[in-house]
Symmetry: C2
DNA sequence: CAATAGGGTTGCATTTTAAAACCAAATTGA
DNA sequence: TCAATTTGGTTTTAAAATGCAACCCTATTG
């Protein structure tokens, strides 16, 4: 049977994964964040099959994570650029990368060294924070249930 | 052809996606964070096929995101519980959920209301921060290239 | 002691994926 | 100028992954 879809799930993580939760989409977004814009460049950097790349780019464009722009005066060259929605995945990508660097460090070392453009200092580890800015672990939080609903929001 | 694997990619995001980047794994982790531990409960809450759930749980255990524990004295009931590595996905999951709530709000409202257990106040939006704690967008950062290597780390 | 729940495995039809071949418009370069 | 190449795709085909239903074995329950 077909892969299950989460479009209409009442869980926003499921809906998010429906847009960027496959093997390639988030990597495409990552490379877009690093400045890649052209079809061929994505293809070469990711080592992805062209038909899959076509499909994923189209889906990301449909979901407004990327925008497809004609470049050159004759309109046969395109650029895929992040929308605000796409750029908003920045914390997700950085958090995932930090997790990967921590728990599955590259065999040849060198984790991501992302730095503040102004100060040149490394960025902090992405964490969930309370209103005062203190980092919180999963044990430090609870889900405020919607008073109008008895269905669990998880 | 087979799905491409990213086990030995030199990109930690790719390696991370190799562990939790399929349609189900991160949802399983999410539900584990909400307290689900039993096979049947995962199955019912997620609506996932049993064979797929078996496979995903085994893979998450292999990758040390979950731990499988026997419960009950006769050892025929099991619980799947998050390891530290698994709990460390908390910022990733929260960031993804916040992104989903922002850009694909549930048709029936109610975004995640995650609160500090101590103060009862909602948590902040997950962001990338500089050393001083200021939120940074993707335009505010750069990647410090490894001086010993000329290969791009993206 | 039969029924049921928990935790799986197996078989099968349907989709997805990857790779390679092919294609057409635009650009390059000799 | 005209052939070669680049860009951005589509098509075809085989191998995998998915979803569902059916089955299995071990506890526990009524």
């Amino acid at each position: 049977m077909a892969r299950k879809r989460f479009d209409d799930s009442n869980c926003s993580v499921a809906r998010a994964l429906n847009e960027v939760g496959d093997w390639w989409s988030l990597l495409i977004v990552l490379h877009a964040m690093y400045g890649t814009r052209r079809f061929v460049d994505f293809q070469q950097q990711l080592g992805i099959a062209k038909n899959i790349l076509c499909d994923r780019l189209a889906r990301l464009v449909d979901n407004e994570v990327l925008r497809k722009e004609e470049v050159g005066e004759h309109g046969s060259r395109f650029e895929y650029r992040l929308t605000e929605k796409g750029r908003d995945l920045f914390p997700v990508v950085v958090a995932l990368r930090q997790w990967g660097d921590k728990w599955n460090p590259a065999p040849d070392g060198q984790p991501l060294d992302l730095r503040d453009r102004d100060t040149g200092e490394p960025v902090q580890t992405v964490t969930v924070r309370n209103a005062q800015g203190q980092p919180l672990s999963i044990r430090d939080v609870f889900v405020a249930e919607d008073l109008n609903s008895s269905t669990k929001s998880a």
